[in-house]
Symmetry: C2
Subunit: 419 residues, 2 copies
């Protein structure tokens, strides 16, 4: 094995001193802690179990809204959404009057950790299941010799644009379907292969939550999926990797007693009560509709342009008494939710553990989620697993008695391991 | 073994049809889910592990505030605090002008499940660690031949007042110290002995959270404590018990980086900003100060009598922007938090995962919690474990895809087991 560079580097005010071993940080998309519990109890995650004893397992708090882009952006920058600028998968640009998808690096207001790690001599590779995230992860990395590709478009990876080609040959498998557990396992296999071949020693793996949207933790399919993940963790450990694992968000059932989705159509409710002119943005919206039908537990309300302060107070009052709604934010939204104020609307609404927020019944196609909605976005999907493969240094063992965040995972993995 | 009566009975609008086996419902005080994870990963909870596979393990949502009296009262009545009337360990009685402890059955606005179970022919026994809860649990039960005592005062149990005497002989051990793990294990041992001797077949066991306040989930003391609990679960299973297990609330570290308690002194803050006349009630307050120093993540504010509506709006605004505060409720407090309106104040404040609310620095004695504050009361301690020893009937398996509550545990244990 070639020697691994261990120069320290600083990004966004945080200094990283990675160990002279492969560093692997994993964001397991939508992995509520219960998924581990179910697979562990069935004896299907022996490597995870061992890590949780020799290392550390606990909960960390994610960023709100508990969505993929927001939290992946936080994890790879080490800062809050209010700093990195990505406060949802989607926002309404009041200047242009357009609803804009935030899956491009141009929305990122600070550098990710990856170019700095590459400049410090690490061989950096980022593998994501969802192609939508690749642009953010690849930002500034390719020109430094780094690698960034998705399992969704593995076959399209090319040296000039992804820092690597022939990914299917490397992994030994064809590009998987995006709506599958394989799309995530492929990410792991690629990570293992990259380290094995000496192509990378500083790796970020980000999966897709298709399986978690589709299956409850104790479903045999979910248990099998997590057993597959554990196998990959075992391979990474054998390669000497220091592993940090967290999630972008949790996952909860969002169903009524009859099994149908438990939705508050917020734009309809507001229009019925206060008239036309409301625009409700659902920042869960993304190209992967089969997961959730654009229904999550977090919504942003843009008020009609003509509305007065008194009018706004009336809307706040109405929302504060609306059944199923658990939190309502007005002027304090950006501050309390740590979000970029200029990419937010007038009011933020969060719904309960089993409740999602929609626009209008017509806006959502519920066919894709007919088997039963599981989704996220709110407070009840904010707490996520946090695992480190190594024993914590005393100062990091103390940190977990505060309020560790999922975007501290690179800090813990690079700086926190007592090795 | 004598035959067990299985007549169905109805309490507070819910009907229970307990199986013809011993029924044991356990409220494991302050048992955040991580405590199980830590002990399970170390192979110290084989019975719990088996139950979680053959039965069901998941999360349920407790009642807010996430305190002991509130949730124990919900569990034993099967209804919300807005119905049973106990919305805290403590409240301010505006009529009498006194701060009143709610550990007496006289505050309970509906019957518990126990007298009805006894009338239906079950041999009911309730064992609690904390004497403070006994009066609520014993309500209406003793006159029907039931048993209710605490491990704290085990030696004082007498036939006339507790439905049983010679508890120490029954358990085979002397009364434990209340500030100990033994105080909880004693509750289990008593439950096992009661079933073994044929003295009870419908049992509620409610422990104390001294250990969880004092030790993090992966502390050897906590792991040992949970291993002890698992041993008792094994004995209960051997006796043929159908077991339902939940918690009243979770538990989180509430510390600053230097290890000192992370407190917002709310009465001080309000007085500094708005003048005298505020009364902040901390409903965590109870006789067991060594646990938490009366510091939790939930506070009720009574405004000065002379304050106008505009004044109140100003206070709400101030609190909505106060760092460390995560939720503020005004007129919608009782409705949103499902609490009895007539035992609440003007404003409810909830603080973050690592933050507690106090009155004034002088009010709290921090010596008892010098080893590091762990506490509860807020949203981050609302989600609790929910375990059933048996496979769920299909209609109950569907229920867990909604928003199961910890006070559904008697329903699940009596009606939900596919046996």
């Amino acid at each position: 094995m070639t020697t691994i560079q261990t120069t320290s580097f600083t990004v966004n005010g945080r200094t990283y001193q990675p160990p002279a071993r492969p560093v692997v940080v994993i964001c397991l998309d939508g992995s509520a802690d219960e998924y581990f519990d179910a697979a562990l109890a069935r004896g299907r995650m022996p490597n995870f179990q061992r890590m949780s004893v020799t290392g550390y397992r606990g909960f960390a708090r994610g960023a709100l809204p508990s969505f993929t882009n927001v939290n992946n952006a936080s994890i790879v920058t080490g800062v809050l959404p209010s700093v990195h600028g990505i406060g949802g998968n989607f926002f309404y640009d009041t200047t242009s009057g357009e609803e804009v998808m935030m899956n491009s690096a141009k929305f990122l207001r600070c550098e990710t950790i990856f170019p700095a790690a590459a400049r410090a001599g690490r061989k950096v590779a980022v593998v994501t299941a969802k192609e939508k995230l690749r642009d953010i992860f690849a930002s500034g990395l390719l020109e430094l010799g780094g690698i960034a590709f998705s399992s969704e478009k593995a076959s399209q990876a090319a040296k000039a644009t992804h820092g690597i080609d022939c990914v299917e040959a490397l992994v030994g498998q064809p590009t998987p379907a995006i709506y599958s557990g394989e799309a995530s396992l492929y990410v792991f296999r690629a990570g293992v292969a990259l380290i094995e071949r000496g192509l990378a020693d500083f790796v970020y793996l980000s999966t897709t939550d298709f399986m978690q949207h589709k299956f409850a933790p104790d479903a045999p399919e979910a248990v099998e999926f997590y057993a597959g993940i554990d196998e990959q963790l075992g391979l990474l450990l054998k390669l000497g990797a220091v592993i940090g694992l967290t999630a972008d968000h949790g996952m909860n059932s969002k169903r009524k007693a009859d099994g149908s989705p438990n939705v508050i159509y917020l734009e309809s409710e507001l229009t019925k009560k206060f008239g036309l002119g409301f625009r409700v943005i659902l920042p869960i919206t993304d190209p992967y509709v089969a997961h959730h039908g654009a229904l999550g537990s977090f919504a942003v309300v843009h008020l009609p342009a003509t509305m007065t302060t008194d009018g706004k107070d009336g809307v706040l009052r109405f929302l504060n008494h609306l059944s199923g709604v658990t939190e309502v934010y007005g002027n304090n939204a950006a501050e309390k939710l740590e979000l970029p104020a200029d990419r937010l609307g007038d009011i933020v609404v969060i719904s309960g553990r089993d409740v999602v927020l929609g626009r209008t019944p017509e806006y959502h196609d519920l066919k894709a989620i007919a088997s039963g909605l599981r989704s996220h976005g709110g407070r009840y999907e904010e707490m996520v697993p946090f695992l480190l493969s190594e024993r914590l240094k005393p100062e990091y063992a103390a940190k977990v008695h505060g309020d560790p965040r999922n975007f501290d995972i690179f800090d813990f993995t690079c700086n926190g391991a007592a090795i």
